[in-house]
């Protein structure tokens, strides 16, 4: 089974669900909407987590798939998850295990996903989603252009050129706190726009 990652430009306005017994039960029963939410929500978080640890998209995708496979395998067992409210922590810990195995072995990790369940399908990007994605890009550009040139160069050196943070801070005559605050302010400004468009949801596109 393949747990489809939604296409990059799609950002359905899914709200955060509280992970409780009802949610987990719906998930185990194969409720399509719940499964889509689960895969979308945690795909985004897994991407955030894995982007710093794995270099290739394929490796990230493999770990993501394997994590979902193992999570579903446990959930579908009798009495699989004892504390439904710990679903997030459980997904994280499964991902850690998969990551550990990936590090240890360069070979393919065998999937534990043996069941033949219908996979949650993601819809393709529609015109509205594409426009929305473009508007978010415009917002980022606007935020960057509003910054002092020095701050832009600082972000460029850190994120685009991926230079050593210490060296960059020394060169630009700032400390790490400055960089943190710069990112924080940009994030807050972007978040305002983001929440305005999508509500307080974590997007399904995982930036992959």
């Amino acid at each position: 089974m393949v747990y489809l990652s939604p296409p990059p430009v799609v950002e359905p306005p899914l709200q955060f669900h509280s992970f409780d017994a009802v949610y987990v039960e719906s998930l185990c029963e194969g409720d399509r909407q719940t499964q889509e939410h689960f895969v979308g929500y945690f795909s985004a978080l897994l991407q955030v987590k894995l982007r710093a640890r794995l270099q290739s998209r394929h490796a990230i995708e493999d770990v993501r798939q394997e994590t979902f496979a193992r999570v579903f395998a446990v959930l579908r067992k009798e009495g699989g998850l004892k504390n439904p409210e710990r679903l997030g922590a459980f997904v994280n810990s499964v991902c850690n295990n998969v990551l550990f195995e990936t590090y240890r072995s360069s070979g393919r990790v065998e999937s534990l996903d043996l069941e033949d369940r219908p996979e949650p399908q993601a819809t393709g990007p529609d015109a509205l989603a594409i426009v929305s994605a473009r508007q978010m890009s415009d917002k980022v550009r606007e935020i960057l252009l509003d910054m002092a040139p020095r701050d832009r160069f600082l972000l460029k050196a850190v994120f685009l050129e991926q230079r050593d943070r210490e060296e960059v801070c020394r060169e630009f005559g700032v400390d790490r706190e400055y960089l943190r605050v710069l990112l924080h302010r940009a994030k807050q400004e972007f978040k305002t726009e983001y929440v305005k468009r999508h509500g307080g949801s974590v997007p399904l596109d995982a930036g992959a």
């Binding site: 955030v48 997030g88 972000l155 994120f159 060169e171 005559g173 972007f190 974590v202």
Partner: protein, 234 residues
């Protein structure tokens, strides 16, 4: 880790900037997977970073990067900007003109003044100039003026190793100060001196001279104060 701790410590930013050690990172990730607010923050910040990477590659730099590289580089560039031809050329031309004028005109005059005798009128000051009573003195701007200063060597006033002078201009600002060693002990009468004021520094108005004695341990004792009204001619 709870949400407030994550907020206070800017953990989302630290996490995405790779500033957390392995334990703190795992701690935060566990929290992030359970906390919708931190999940949203992390995701939004990641989106911003990913989009910014694309945009920063496209945004043309408005000026060379080196010009915007922090305080240290800013200072360095400011310094280098002084050497731009548009600024440096006229400055160098002006400097050459000043140096030429000094070598051809000012220095010879000063050299002559320093090596040639000069006649300086002595201001007809009397005891009336002491204290607050003022005498009017007419001075020639070309030659300056010498002001007689008499310091009483009265052991009753004190025993000094040197005398200090302060000259105040008509604006009440200190125009000059100087020190002279005291005469050998046992000298009698007044210690008679002349304070020569060159013409270039003279202005119309009330000047005052304060004299104080400095003791062996550096203590200062006011001795005399002269004030006079100066009228400058030519």
């Amino acid at each position: 880790m709870n949400h407030n701790e994550a907020l206070e410590q800017m953990t989302v930013e630290r996490y995405l900037l790779g500033e957390l050690d392995a334990d703190a990172r795992e701690d935060f990730e566990e929290h992030m997977f359970c906390c919708p607010d931190c999940a949203l923050d992390s995701r939004v910040a990641t989106l911003f970073i990913e989009e910014a990477k694309a945009e920063l590659g496209e945004i043309a730099p408005t000026q060379p990067e080196v010009k915007d590289t922090g305080k240290r580089d800013k200072g360095r560039n400011r310094w280098y900007s002084w050497w731009r031809p548009a600024f440096a050329a006229p400055v160098f031309a002006a400097l050459v003109a000043v140096i030429g004028y000094q070598n051809l005109v000012t220095f010879p005059v000063l050299r002559n003044a320093a090596s040639q005798p000069a006649v300086v009128p002595v201001a007809p000051l009397s005891g009336a100039a002491r204290g607050e009573m003022r005498t009017t003195v007419v001075a020639d701007r070309g030659r300056g003026i010498a002001v007689p200063v008499d310091i009483p060597l009265d052991p009753g006033i004190g025993t000094f190793v040197s005398y200090s002078f302060e000259l105040y201009n008509p604006q009440g600002k200190l125009a000059w100060s100087g020190t002279i060693p005291a005469p050998a002990q046992g000298s009698a009468g007044d210690f008679e001196l002349s304070l020569v004021m060159p013409g270039g520094m003279l202005k119309d108005g009330i000047y005052s001279v304060s004299i104080s004695g400095t003791g062996a341990h550096g203590e200062s004792t006011p001795i005399e104060r002269y004030a006079f009204n100066l009228v400058v001619t030519k």
